[in-house]
Structure formats: C-alpha cells, structure tokens
C-alpha cells in the first residue's frame, strides 16, 4: 500500500492518492458496504457499471463469514478475491459492520471483542481475528478494537483504550506477510482518552489509522473536537479511515478534520427505505438561488419512490445521471417494483445511490484540489438545511 497527500484545503481537509492492490484511488474516498463480500443488492455482473476506480474499494467484515463458511475453506479457495470472483476490487477489512455486526461493549472483556451478529453474540479474540485476516487476505485491515458507545463510564472508556492498544500489538505480532495494517484508535467521547490512544498508536509501525468507536452515540456537535484530538496526534502522511459516519454532513465533518477514507451505511439505509439521492452534483446548481424547492415532501436531497406521486413519472431519478438505473429506467417503473415487492427495486436503487454518492465524493475532491473545501462545505450544509 502506498499513500501520498497531494493537496490541502483550508483546515484539515486533504486530497491524496491511495495505491492499493492493483488500484489507484483518489481520496477522500468511500468504501462500499458489503454483506459476505458482495454488495447487498448489486449483482457482481453489474458492479462494472459503477464508476471505476472509485467504486473498487469494498468494506468487508470478516465476521460475516462466520455464518456458514469456515476460515479453512476460505483459505483453501484462496482468499477473498477467489471467493467472491472479484479480481479488480480491493478489500478493506474492519471487524465492525454498522449494519449487522455491531460492537456489544457490555459483553466485551479482556479475552475478546463482542459483536451482535445475525448468528448471535460472538466473542472474537485477537488470535481468532487474525486467523480470519490471514484466510481472507484483504489488501488492508484494521486491528481489533474495543469500541464503546459515548455513554460509558470513564473507567470503562479507559479500559477500552488500554485493551485496544494491547490488541493492536497482538494483531501486529501475528500479522500475515501481506496486507497493510491500520491501527485502531478509540476513546469514546473523552478528549483525553482519544488523545492518549492516538498518541500511543502513532508510535506503532502501522500503514494508517482506523478511527473507531464513532457513530456509536456521540452527537454531531461533539464529534469535531474528538476527531481533532485524534488527528492532531497522528502523522500527516499516513491515511485515516473512519466507520459509522453516514450522512453527507457527517462525511464533510470527517473530511474537514482530515479523514481520508469513509465506510458509510447511508446508501444501504436509503435503498432499503425506497429512497433515491437527488441533490444536484453540478456546482452551478448548488450555487443557484433560484432553484424552486420541490413540492414533494420536505427533503429535496432525496425522493421516496414509494410515493404515489411517482406512479406516472416517466423521468429518470436524476436527469442527466449516467448510472445504469437512470439510463435505463424511470421513476414510475421503480415505484411499481416497490409496490409489487420486486427485488429489482433495491438493485436499481443501490446502483443509483452508490453512483450518486460517489459523485458527491468527486465534488469534494474537486473542491479540495481547488482550495475551496470550506466554502463548498458551507454552501452544501446551508443549501440543504
């Protein structure tokens, strides 16, 4: 793995280039969420219709495979690329999956981290986690962390930091030959603990950092200070990854603090709800103050295709969008599919929403490269408040 920062824009925002596996990805970038390695709905043959290379970073939680597939079998097959038939993609393994593998802080103990999963509550020890990593062979993986929600006691929070650092060292010592390792940083909502953890992890021999334990109950207002406490202690030239920030405003918050890679469940939740992103990706449209607000619902950033107003709407979700869904299908058709409970609705929505959200990241990178990220962020937040 190689990472180079190419441009900065007022504050902590930076644009960079990540060389991972066979891909060269511009950052800030988005990890697409997966279930057992494949997207939730988009079938593998349609993955190539998403913009490349930015759609090639996939988030994988190795814990998904515990349901039905042994690590031995995965090893025998040859790791994730062989298992999933995806040879052009890069896999980033983080134990937590904000949809179905949530950290269960009450059950975590000194032996391992507990997760609430579809196959029950699992306790994962560092050595077990590393077995998963060496069997699945992702290009990049984060160390096992004790992630705690914002409301735990100071004592519990301090323990989580000590444990996370201990597990980091254990994971690194068992580390397989291939794959870049990101050190996990926790600390709940305590600035002190966050700083302490970051300072410790910064001394370890890792390729980058995973800012864990966020998106677990802290408010959007608390978050910038926590992020800054962490980032300030980290070397500039190594990449930072974060999970659990979903909304566009949260992404912008993370970028302003200096985060480079994001794992988000926003697309998944939108898709499940029948929503499609519609906020304009054209700079001129964002600036225009003469835009007539939509009279359908109160949220002009997205539309809910279940609404009866779309029954006869033969336009595409977003005019001019070049995604497979917008090039081939209409709002009326997706409305119909949702009404008759056809899975094609989710497939088409996931394609559009992914395409659109990746477009949002592209706008962000353009703004950073042009040195106007703060302006972009202000305009975006104001426009859609």
């Amino acid at each position: 793995m190689k990472f180079v920062v190419k441009a900065w824009s007022n504050g902590g925002a930076r644009a960079g280039i990540l060389h991972l596996g066979t891909s060269t990805i511009d950052t800030p970038s988005l990890l697409l969420s997966t279930r057992k390695g494949l997207p939730h709905f988009i079938s593998p043959d349609l993955l190539s219709c998403l913009p490349a290379p930015e759609s090639r970073l996939l988030h994988v939680s190795p814990l998904h495979f515990l349901e039905g597939l042994s690590m031995k079998t995965i090893s025998k097959i040859g790791g994730l690329h062989q298992l999933l038939g995806l040879h052009d993609h890069c896999f980033v393994a983080v134990p937590r999956d904000s949809i179905q593998c949530l950290p269960e802080a009450n059950s975590t103990n000194k032996i391992g981290a507990s997760f609430e999963t579809p196959c029950g509550r699992l306790l994962i020890k560092p050595v077990e986690y590393m077995e998963m990593i060496s069997s699945t062979r992702p290009e990049l993986w984060a160390t096992l962390a004790d992630e705690v929600p914002a409301w735990v006691s100071d004592k519990r929070n301090k323990t989580s930091v000590d444990r996370t650092i201990k597990w980091l060292d254990e994971c690194i010592s068992i580390s397989p030959a291939s794959g870049a390792v990101f050190g996990a940083i926790v600390g709940g909502s305590s600035l002190e603990e966050r700083r302490r953890c970051a300072q410790e992890v910064a001394t370890r021999n890792v390729s980058g950092y995973w800012v864990g334990g966020l998106g677990l109950g802290e408010s959007m207002d608390e978050r910038p200070a926590l992020l800054n406490a962490v980032i300030e202690a980290l070397p500039e030239e190594k990449p930072r990854l974060i999970c659990g920030l979903g909304l566009p405003e949260e992404i912008l918050q993370g970028i302003a603090a200096g985060v480079d890679i994001f794992e988000s469940t926003y697309i998944y939740h939108l898709t499940l709800g029948g929503f499609a992103l519609t906020f304009p990706l054209d700079r001129t449209q964002i600036n225009a103050s003469n835009l007539v607000p939509s009279d359908v619902g109160s949220d002009p950033r997205k539309i809910n295709l279940r609404a009866t107003v779309f029954r006869k709407d033969t336009t595409s979700i977003v005019e001019g969008c070049t995604c497979y869904t917008c090039r081939n299908h209409t709002r009326a058709y997706i409305n119909h599919l949702l009404n008759v409970h056809e899975m094609l609705a989710q497939i088409l929505l996931e394609i559009h929403n992914t395409h659109h959200f990746l477009g949002f990241f592209r706008l962000i990178r353009d703004a950073i490269n042009a040195g106007r990220f703060e302006e972009f962020r202000r305009e975006f937040v104001q426009r859609w408040r």
Partner: protein, 332 residues
C-alpha cells in the same frame, strides 16, 4: 421495463386456479377479491384483452376458464365449453391483431374427448398459436404426458404449441419430444430462492451442510457467471439468508434452462435429438431407473431410449393411473 426482446403476457386466468377460494366464475367473467384492497374485481375476456393490448406484448393469451386437473365431474366440461365461448369474445375484443398474437388455450382436464372438442374448436378459429393449458397442477405424470401427446398430435404442425406451467427439465425434454415448442415456469427462480440449483444430475441442495466445505462450482459443465466464479461453499453461506444467494442461484438456474433449450434446439436441427435425449437421461438416471411415464412417452414420440434404460425393469410410479389391465401388467 425497457425490454427490447420478446414479451408474452398471460390473461390473468391462472389466478383463478391459484386464488380459487376468492373467485366466483360466471359466464360474464371471473370475480376476484383483490388481494391488494379487498374490493371485488371482475375480469372479463374483454377486459383481459384490453389490458394486454395496452401492455403491448408480442404474444397475448386468451382468458380461459381453467380448472385444476385434480377436480372431477361436470365442472371440467363446463369450463372447456366456456373457454371456447370466451375465445370468440377475446378475438372480438382484440384491437391489435397485427402487432400482437392471440393464443388460444386448450382445456378439458384429463378427458381425451373433451380435449379433442376443445382442440377442434380452437383450430377452427385459426389462431396464430395454441397453448395446452390446465396441466402442471399436480396431476400424475402418466396422465400429463398423454394429454400433451394428444394435443400435439392434433394441433396444426405449422403453429407454435405452448405448454403452460411446464416445468422441470425432464418434463420439458419429454414434451419437446412429443412436439411442443414453448414453456413457462416459476420453477427455476422459485427453487433458487429455496437454495436449490438445477444441475444435469437433477438438483443440488446448496443448503445442505456438506456444501459448506465443497469448493467445486455448482455445475462444472456450466459456463454461467456463477459457475465460473463461485464455489458451492460460498453460495451455501448465502442461501436462504442473503438476497444475493437467491440472485446468484436464480442466475444459474435460468442460464441452465436457457442452455437446455438451446441444446434441444440444436440437437433437433443437427438430427441428433435422440442422442441428446439419451445423454440427458443417462446423466439424470445413471442407474437406468428411468420412470415408466418417460419410457412410455418416448415410445409414443418414437425416440429410442433403450440404451439408457436398465433392462427388464417395471418402475412403480407412486401415483400411477394405470391403463393396463391385469393380464397386461403380468406380461411386463
């Protein structure tokens, strides 16, 4: 739908059978209780054709009065005659005879006399194609193939014969041998959703624990995207739990059925159909225990499958409706 290829719509008549407890069938049409809002809906032949005219498919189906083959009694005869009266109403209501081909549907249950009357009646109307309906509803296989054989023998040679609701690969091979051309069935996708793959040997249940360690593809002879990229083990981890499992298996199963059709077609064109049938049966019944109904049907179809049958075996089908008398059974 943005579907640039051929389309066929059904009349809505099948719902009569599948939702029968909600239906009231009269000469006017079928009254359903709408499953969406509970309001009564009347589907007449005219309305069905009107809707199908609007949808615009290349082939449209007449509204027929369809009854389950497991029912006996005068209802079957009533339904057959009504189907003939309704075909005239469908023809009259059809506003787009130059773009859309209206197929009639042969009814008559398992009664050869009724079926014959229906075939003659439909052929008199000189329709672009004919469907053989009212089957694939749980009747025993021996009765099933005989109805298909009778219809294909008497329907015009130069028009397509569409066996509705069929089906399993074996059924398709047999019906094709008997002269049928078109089929439809939910089987490939439904069975995929339950974790079952269609393979040359029959079926493969991906849910089975043994699949968890099996690193082979579903079907090593299949060229589909799923068999080229995924192992049984991975699919096993997905089936019945993740939508993607249903997707991947559906993909394979549909590909399998398309390949089967392609092979049937090219083997007939190349004059190698009997070989193909034998090969197909050998893979499915390696011990030669081919069901009797298949042997009987192939005999009528004049396809020699003796090379794949184990010698001197009389197979007891579980629900056989034997037409042979005592002496004939002894002689086998």
């Amino acid at each position: 739908m943005n579907w640039p290829r051929a389309l066929l719509t059904d009349s809505g008549g099948f719902q009569m059978v599948s939702l029968l407890h909600l239906a009231d069938i009269t000469e006017k049409g079928v009254t359903f209780q709408s499953p969406v809002d509970g309001k009564p809906m009347l589907l007449t032949p005219e309305e069905s054709i009107q809707i199908q005219n609007k949808i615009g498919a290349d082939i449209i189906m007449a509204l027929d009065d369809v009854v389950k083959t497991t029912i006996t009694g005068p209802r079957i005869e009533e339904a057959m005659h009504r189907t003939l009266r309704w075909i005239d109403r469908c023809i009259a209501a059809h506003k787009r005879p130059h773009d859309q081909n209206l197929f009639g549907i042969v009814q008559g249950g398992l009664d050869p006399v009724l079926r014959d009357i229906c075939v003659r009646g439909l052929v008199d109307r000189n329709l672009p194609g004919y469907a053989i309906g009212g089957l694939a509803g749980g009747e025993d296989k021996d009765s099933f193939w005989r109805v298909v054989a009778q219809c294909t023998a008497t329907l015009p040679e130069d028009k397509p014969r569409y066996v509705m609701g069929v089906g399993y690969p074996l059924d398709i091979v047999v019906c094709s041998a008997l002269g049928a051309d078109m089929y439809d069935c939910v089987y490939p996708t439904r069975t995929a959703r339950f974790g079952t793959a269609i393979v040359p040997e029959g079926v493969l249940k991906l849910k089975h624990k043994a699949m968890a360690e099996d690193t082979r593809p579903i079907d090593p002879t299949c060229a589909c995207m799923v068999c080229k990229n995924y192992t049984r083990a991975y699919i096993h981890s997905l089936v019945t739990k993740d939508a993607m499992g249903s997707q991947l298996l559906s993909f394979h199963n549909l590909y399998y059925m398309m390949q089967l059709s392609r092979n049937l077609h090219s083997s007939i064109v190349q004059g190698k159909f009997p070989e193909f049938v034998c090969n197909f049966l050998q893979k499915m019944f390696p011990k030669g225990d081919i069901p009797e109904w298949v042997c009987n049907a192939m005999e009528v179809a004049e396809i020699d499958i003796s090379s794949c049958c184990a010698p001197f075996r009389y197979i007891q089908a579980t629900k056989v409706q034997s037409n042979l008398n005592e002496d004939e059974i002894q002689a086998v």
